[in-house]
Symmetry: C2
């Protein structure tokens, strides 16, 4: 079940180094122009491909996506922009389309110039290999990912296919994902923009692994517009695909041993709820306690308190795995350390925080913080 009109391929181009032999260069090609929407990192330091793709998404139409792992092409200045354009040009020439119809995406180490020659050299092979199977493409954008991230839904006769990468450096305000959602449903630019924006707010902008925000975060939505689909059903299925990708990313978080849902309720507004949920999800002390199944709920309340939201500390309540832990700011009468410790042994943990009687609410998904995270990140580059 792959959206009509799109074809895929991937090769090894030795992007990171000539002797690294995994798939690291991928292409998606559409026989006719597709409608393009995109959302991008809010980091002021934007990678070259992000700067270019933002313009393309604004224009709203493209024919191909060229993606690489192993090199972020970020902090590479004018050279980085020229490098990205050289690659776009090579792809355009081979496909007989315009260079500005080729959307670039990169992920990997920051600050190293793209090995343009090695990449350009592989473009003919890439085009030759185009097929209906998206898996090699999904594989070529993986960095520290340990699982393939692909999600599909059917909407009547149309379908939606989501592909993502991202395992570390995942922060609210968009994960370090390269994510691409393809559909053959008929979509105009405005509708696609609206659907993407609405969904990202409570999916990719609601996940957090380490609080860092990448220079390359990008999510693209591409519609080949070949089959009619009910707009409501489409939005619902699109939401499901992106939510699933976001959860896959959290579950594959570097060194993660837990999948943690932090629900905050009772705030004056959703923004306040979001600030609190993020403070709790990003707290190293909360994360390490979860890793150790340590029933140290005080760390959760402390994080609620420094989130920068004006609340009444005597109205904070916390439930963990359905257990009443904190009620009206103090330990619940029913609390037993052993119960919570046992509940925290599970892989999926839900923390529910209520801070008052307001209607504002927000949910963030995150992980614990383990030894493995340190291991992976103490030696990513070298």
């Amino acid at each position: 079940m792959t959206p009509r009109g799109f074809r895929f391929s991937a090769v090894n181009a030795g992007v990171k180094a000539p002797d690294v032999k995994s798939l690291d260069l991928g292409l998606i090609y559409a026989e006719s122009p597709f409608v393009l929407s995109g959302m991008f990192t809010r980091n002021i330091v934007k990678a070259a491909p992000v700067i270019i793709a933002m313009e393309q998404a604004k224009r709203g139409s493209a024919r191909a996506i060229i993606a690489n792992s192993g090199n972020a092409n970020a902090c590479t200045g004018a050279t980085g922009l020229a490098d990205a354009r050289s690659v776009m040009q090579a792809v355009a020439k081979e496909l007989d389309i315009r260079p500005d119809e080729v959307v670039p995406m990169s992920t990997g180490t920051i600050g190293v110039y793209l090995p343009t020659e090695r990449i350009v050299h592989k473009v003919p092979e890439l085009v030759q290999k185009l097929s209906d199977d998206p898996e090699p493409f999904a594989r070529c954008i993986m960095t520290t990912d340990t699982t393939l991230k692909v999600s599909r839904r059917r909407v009547g006769q149309a379908c939606i296919l989501g592909i993502a990468k991202g395992a570390g450096m995942i922060a609210p305000d968009m994960a370090t994902t390269l994510a691409i959602v393809l559909t053959d449903a008929v979509m105009d630019k405005d509708t696609l923009d609206k659907v993407l924006k609405g969904v990202v707010a409570h999916t990719f902008n609601a996940i957090s692994i380490d609080g860092d925000m990448s220079t390359n975060d990008t999510i693209l939505a591409c519609a080949s517009s070949q089959v009619d689909a009910d707009p409501e059903e489409f939005a619902y299925a699109f939401d499901e695909v992106v939510t699933e990708l976001a959860h896959m990313i959290v579950k594959d978080g570097e060194g993660a041993t837990k999948f943690v849902t932090v629900k905050v309720m009772g705030c004056a507004n959703d923004r306040d709820a979001r600030l609190i949920a993020r403070a709790v999800a990003d707290s190293l002390l909360v994360k390490t306690a979860l890793f150790g199944a340590d029933p140290n709920w005080g760390r959760i309340v402390a994080a609620v308190g420094y989130a920068g939201v004006n609340i009444d500390p005597d109205r904070i309540s916390v439930r963990i795995q359905g257990l009443d832990v904190v009620t009206s700011g103090v330990q619940d009468r029913s609390f037993r350390e052993e119960d919570l410790k046992e509940a925290l042994q599970q892989h999926d943990i839900t923390i529910e925080i209520t801070v008052g009687g307001g209607m504002g609410r927000f949910t963030v998904w995150t992980t614990d913080l383990s030894h493995k995270y340190i291991e992976i990140n103490a030696s990513y580059r070298t």
Copy 2:
């Protein structure tokens, strides 16, 4: 060299549990009222002793400080306040002073009620043991600290003694310290307030280990006002004492293997510089790279970019250990990965970041993030 007018003692009161036999209850007593200034956590969730001490610091005078480790008396509601007051009352009775002249301080696990009886029972022994030696007191407030934190300076005939605890949960906006600075210099309340506030801004509010902000952070300044001291010399020495304590806390950061100085310059104002320095110092990816001596400078630039400060990414320059790493937003021509990797082997690391031509600057001190941090914090409570 101990400030005239202050006496010290410490005992074991089994605060954490009756069978934990380390020093965990301490007293500082002054024969006549001392001038009191204080700065406290900005966490909305404030421990009972913080709520009480804030009032006392506003009044500006006291006679004694009673401190315990093993229990934070935080998230304990009205019971926590009553418990703190019971302890203050017991101390006051034994010393024949007013209860509101006894300043309470607590550190330890959140959400557990104070074992008031065990503490009150030990107060007579505490008073009996009062001596000129501050070391037992400095020892009794330690939690995960591995080093005693005491600093002294002479100012003419007067002197300043600083005592602190704090090793984890150290965030900007005040470390989880209980810190006490005692002096016999003649000081009025306004001057002492001003000196304390000025110094904390670039010391305790400029250190960061894990970005968490405690419910109990407190720094007190106490002047017995017995000897005249030159105001400028006093302020300078006070600054040195508090700076030394702050650095001791960072160096003893949970699992720290590096002492990292992050200097940010060239901002529009100091506030912007501070936001950037904090973003870099708090980035898990930067911290783990430092732990692994990984020359992954892109993580530093990425953190600069998401600090929430409007800067020109093409003007970012980064020097590490004196090596030019990033110049005008891209890797410096002289950069060699091996050089940086070697420089990062050292224990003391200095990162200098320039983002433009403005006069705003700020320095933050922090640590790396190691396996040891996870170990300590995955099982602090249990």
